[in-house]
């Protein structure tokens, strides 16, 4: 059981969190976005082995945030609220 840090609440068990996707996957607006670009937004992922930057939500308080962690050794580096994060 991993410990994640909600930027507002502090460390909580992983069961209180939900994975929200990779950070920086910006949504392209419009009906004229190319099929490839839209598919890339919907489906294509870096899925890195090692350091990663992800969006998570702490389900209990509803905070969405960006977490940097390692997908192999599960070490958590930082977590910052979504609206204060560099979202690109």
């Amino acid at each position: 059981m991993q410990l994640f840090t909600c930027p507002f609440c502090g460390p909580r068990d992983e069961t209180e969190f939900h994975f929200g996707g990779e950070a920086g996957n910006l949504r392209p607006d419009g009906a004229d976005v190319t099929a490839d670009r839209w598919a890339s937004y919907l489906y294509m992922r870096d899925n890195p082995k090692g350091a990663t930057r992800e969006i998570w939500v702490h389900m209990n308080c509803g905070e969405f945030f960006v977490m940097e962690r390692d997908t192999v050794n599960h070490k958590v580096e930082t977590s910052i609220a979504l609206d204060s994060a560099e979202h690109a």
Binding site: Q2, V57, H74, D83
Partner: protein
């Protein structure tokens, strides 16, 4: 009679409390404090089980968790479980133990003949045969002889296991000398400490090894130290196994009880873990080294000193290291005739008094049948013996360290893997770290706790004679004569390892899987190192080059019940409860689970004919007025300066044009365009909306609103409050609904001009505000009346009372499903699936007209979304007199000699109002095929139906205002 209980001694047993239990049908006497194994040894039972594959007779090897042989099914006592290690299971009065894998019993197993064919069934033989004519011919017989113990099919659970979470500064695993010292030092540093040990008595090796600490006998020091730690308020858990270290150093413990309670699972999150897990003695490699009454030397000493059991009269002690000398001396002192066979030639400790020492000799074989009768040495000497105790060196118990991703380092002088580079938050002490002499053990404990903080406690000192740690590696060698057993429980011999190497299974993981070495219930605690050392020898590699297999939890088998805890029955996936549930119960509601809620399916009691009752409810609902509890519908408030802009983005339909006081039906899509939810949006005022989503989607809709709010609009733009549970929603529907509502006198005008369809009004019932929404899921004039959930009961009662004069009917969800299906109203997830797009449901307006952005928009224009052959929402009608179609029936097309599905029935009922079956379906190009008759198939039966529009009842919608 070879083994016997001595007339005095035994620190673990209470001679004033004799007990008896049964083993393989015979009664065994013992004392409180005995394990099953110690009592069996005292009773001189030699054969306690049969091996997994060859059904070889096997005796007790160890005195603890490493035991590979002595497994018993335990029943009839407070604990009932198969495959229990007799060496760790207390011998309780009345317990019934049965040896595993033996028919009828361990002493006389009728499958013992298999051993005679062993040369034809070496490791992995099954991959090479049983292929002709077919594996299925052989498999049932093989399944029957495999397996160990038996599950009792009539067993009843004593109740759920307890599960406890704890936090502490320091958790110490192992209460031997290293663990006790570490706990004492940590406690002295002002830290909160938890100390755990898997034995019922604390002390570890101090329970049976000679030692003097701080001038006191070991036992006195142990008692004093434990009392000091507990006295300072720290938690000390005996009979508790630390079985797993998980992510971020969560450590899981399993605590056994002996009062009838199931085991307890502890999840501990310590800031620092000190592992003092000790070491496990290894066997020595020689032919027939698996015969009963060949035993670990340390275990023989434990049985002697803890349980006062002398395991034989004429004992050969064989060793490659110093630790067996104390054993040999103690056995001789207790009266046995002891010969010590020592592999090493030089620099030996002095032979204990009364022990005959044969230095520079090794055992090459043992002889005997159901128990050992003697041994042969490498110089040809033959010795008679009724017991052979062996020490092949010590394997540090590195399991938990490795589970925590610790890497091992090979130590040539100790012939063992030791913990390598430190792991964050974990330190190691004692025999685990290779310490042998008690002084070294204590200094390693001090080192392990040094980073925790300055301690006021004084580190213990060894004041007696010290053990020394000389060892000469003794591994199995290739081409040895006879069968040299490596893994006792899984019957792996040195020859099997050689075979694996010959066939290129040289990777340590291949070796394990091919030979099953280390895969038994003991997980290879006594065998793994010997196996990989032999593989190293055969393949010309070093032991660390071969490496170890991965250590995985649990360290010892843990009851499944411990993991489950109370998570079962009504505590698993709990259903939500209606505010009026007890009222519905009293009114004869029959409940079912829908979308995570327990809801009335119909009324009339469980004895009623459900189908008839449901039909009756649906029929009467159309005649006058129906009452329905719709409290589960979502009520999520969206508020703030950008609330209108926000709901526009969230919904497929434009919502910002909605006027305050009005409602609109709409879809929410997922980003892949699929219809995720449908429902009514209410606009209460300029900056405040209520999302009335479907029952089962409240949590997920709430989550996605919160996500888009934070991800796209910013926190200050809009706020989301889930108020679903605040209000009960009581629905009044039918031609006389207005009449009923008027009689309630809710303090607002129900005039259609003031409260038209899709409008809301505010009123009062007594002291409580009520909100009335004129929306309909039945196609009839309907009013949803919402009131504070805890005040709903009087209103519901008034509605029932008032309804009597109008022949009102209270309906459950099943009747409502018929009513909505008559109208062709969809239920998301039933009439749609994970591929349904809004235009498949005939709602194409926003897709073609909307200019601003909304969730899922681009996905409505992919190749697949534009495809003509999409499944589209339709109604189906069957010929007069035919029964309803089964939900799940597929429409089929024939072509090229093959069948092809072209859609399926999503909902199907008999309509009491129309007097005929109705069905909804998703059919390929269905919208343009109205009037066409198609073939359908259900469980091989062919039927026909005609495609129609989805709405079968009141297509012009007149009844909404009737």
């Amino acid at each position: 009679m070879t083994a016997s209980r001595l007339s005095s001694g035994g620190s673990a047993i209470d001679r004033s409390r004799p007990i008896s239990f049964s083993f393989d049908g015979r009664t065994v006497q013992g004392f409180e404090g005995d394990t099953i194994a110690s009592a069996l040894l005292a009773a001189d039972v030699a054969v306690v089980g049969r091996s997994f594959k060859y059904h070889r007779p096997r005796g007790i090897w160890g005195a603890g968790v490493e035991e590979p042989n002595a497994l018993v099914d335990v029943a009839g006592s407070v604990r009932a479980t198969p495959n229990t290690r007799a060496t760790t299971e207390p011998a309780l009065a009345g317990l019934v133990a049965k040896s595993v894998n033996a028919t009828p019993n361990a002493a006389a197993d009728r499958n013992a003949f298999i051993d005679r064919f062993s040369r034809f069934i070496p490791a992995a033989f099954y991959y090479k045969t049983f292929m002709w004519p077919d594996w299925h011919l052989f498999e049932p017989r093989i399944r029957a002889v495999a397996g160990l113990g038996k599950v009792d099919p009539d067993w009843k659970s004593p109740g759920p296991a307890d599960q406890i979470n704890r936090h502490c500064d320091v958790l110490v695993v192992g209460a031997g000398p290293a663990g006790l010292a570490a706990a004492k030092l940590a406690a002295g540093a002002g830290k909160s400490v938890i100390l755990v040990d898997d034995q019922p008595l604390l002390g570890g090796s101090l329970l049976h090894r000679d030692a003097e600490i701080d001038g006191k006998p070991a036992a006195a020091w142990v008692d004093g130290t434990v009392a000091e730690i507990e006295g300072a308020g720290h938690l000390v858990l005996s009979s508790t196994t630390a079985f797993g270290i998980y992510d971020h150093n969560l450590i899981a413990l399993n605590q056994r009880h002996h009062d009838g309670r199931p085991d307890t699972l502890w999840r501990v999150r310590p800031r620092q873990i000190v592992l003092a897990t000790g070491a496990i003695e290894r066997p020595l490699p020689f032919a027939n080294n698996d015969l009963p009454r060949i035993m670990s030397a340390d275990a023989a000493l434990a049985y002697l000193r803890r349980y006062a059991v002398l395991i034989g009269r004429r004992i050969v002690v064989a060793t490659n290291n110093d630790s067996a000398y104390e054993v040999a001396g103690a056995l001789a002192t207790a009266g046995a005739d002891v010969t010590l066979v020592e592999m090493r030639k030089n620099a030996l400790p002095a032979a204990p008094s009364g022990v005959k020492l044969l230095a520079g000799r090794a055992l090459v074989s043992a002889r005997g049948g159901m128990r050992v009768e003697g041994v042969t040495l490498d110089d040809g000497t033959s010795l008679a013996a009724d017991s052979v105790v062996v020490s092949g060196g010590w394997t540090p118990t590195v399991h938990l360290f490795c589970q925590a991703r610790g890497k091992l380092a090979w130590d040539e002088t100790r012939a063992a893997f030791l913990p390598g580079d430190p792991v964050e938050g974990i330190s190691v002490a004692g025999a685990l770290n290779g310490a042998v002499a008690l002084s070294d053990v204590f200094s390693s404990a001090a080192k392990a706790t040094s980073a925790i903080g300055e301690t006021k406690a004084v580190a213990p000192r060894s004041t007696g004679a010290e053990a020394i740690g000389g060892v000469l590696a003794a591994w199995p060698i290739p081409s040895a004569k006879g069968r040299v057993w490596i893994d006792y429980q899984n019957d792996v011999t040195a020859k099997d390892v050689e075979l694996a190497a010959r066939e290129n299974f040289v990777s340590v993981e291949h070796l394990k899987r091919y030979t099953t070495l280390g895969m038994a219930t003991d997980q290879g605690k006594t065998s793994n190192l010997a196996g990989l050392a032999l593989m190293a020898n055969i393949t010309g590699r070093t032991v660390p080059e071969v490496g170890t297999t991965t250590y995985r939890p649990p360290f010892t088998p843990v009851p499944l019940a411990s993991f489950a805890g109370a998570l079962g029955g009504e505590l698993m996936s709990p259903v939500r409860r209606l505010p009026l549930e007890n009222v519905h119960r009293a009114n004869g509601a029959v409940f079912q689970e829908y979308g995570g809620w327990l809801r009335p399916a119909h009324y009339g009691g469980a004895g009623a004919d459900a189908d008839r009752t449901i039909q009756d409810e649906a029929r009467r609902a159309r005649q006058s007025v129906a009452l329905f509890d719709g409290s589960t519908l979502g009520k999520i408030e969206v508020m703030g300066p950008k609330a209108a802009e926000f709901v526009d983005f969230i919904y497929y339909n434009t919502m910002s044009t909605l006027k305050p006081g009005r409602c609109r039906y709409g879809f929410m899509l997922s980003e892949n365009g699929v219809v995720f939810d449908d429902g009514i949006l209410v606009r209460l005022d300029e900056n405040r909306f209520v999302v009335s989503c479907s029952t089962s989607h409240v949590a997920s809709v709430h989550a996605r609103l919160e996500e888009w709010r934070q991800d796209r609009f910013g926190r200050g733009a809009v706020y989301i409050h889930n108020a679903t549970s605040e209000m009960a929603t009581l629905t009044v529907s039918g031609p006389n609904s207005k009449k009923l509502l008027e009689a309630l006198d809710l303090g607002l005008s129900l005039d259609d001009a003031e409260l038209p369809h899709m409008a809301i009004g505010e009123g009062r019932f007594g002291e409580d505000a009520v909100r009335i929404a004129r929306v309909s899921f039945t196609g009839d004039r309907s009013y949803e009346v919402s009131i504070r959930a805890d005040r709903a009961e009087p209103l519901w009662a008034r509605m029932q009372e008032t309804g009597k004069a109008l022949d009102a009917v209270t309906i459950g969800l099943e009747a409502l499903m018929i009513l909505r299906a008559e109208k062709g109203y969809i239920v998301i997830g039933k009439d749609t699936d994970g591929t349904t797009l809004p235009h498949d449901l005939g709602v194409d307006g926003p897709r073609t007209k909307r200019k601003n952005e909304y969730v899922g928009r681009r996905s409505l224009f992919t190749d697949v979304a534009m495809q003509e052959s999409r499944l589209q929402f339709v109604g189906l009608s069957v010929a007069e007199g035919e029964p309803p179609l089964a939900t799940g029936t597929h429409a089929i097309a024939k072509g090229g000699g093959k069948l092809r599905s072209q859609g399926f029935v999503t909902s199907s009922y008999h309509s009491p109002t129309l007097g005929r079956p109705i069905a909804l379906a998703l059919i390929e190009r269905g919208a343009s095929r109205h009037g066409e008759t198609i073939d359908l198939q259900h469980l091989g039966m062919l039927r026909h139906a005609t495609i129609t529009g989805p709405c079968a009842f009141d297509p012009s919608g007149e009844r909404l205002n009737a």
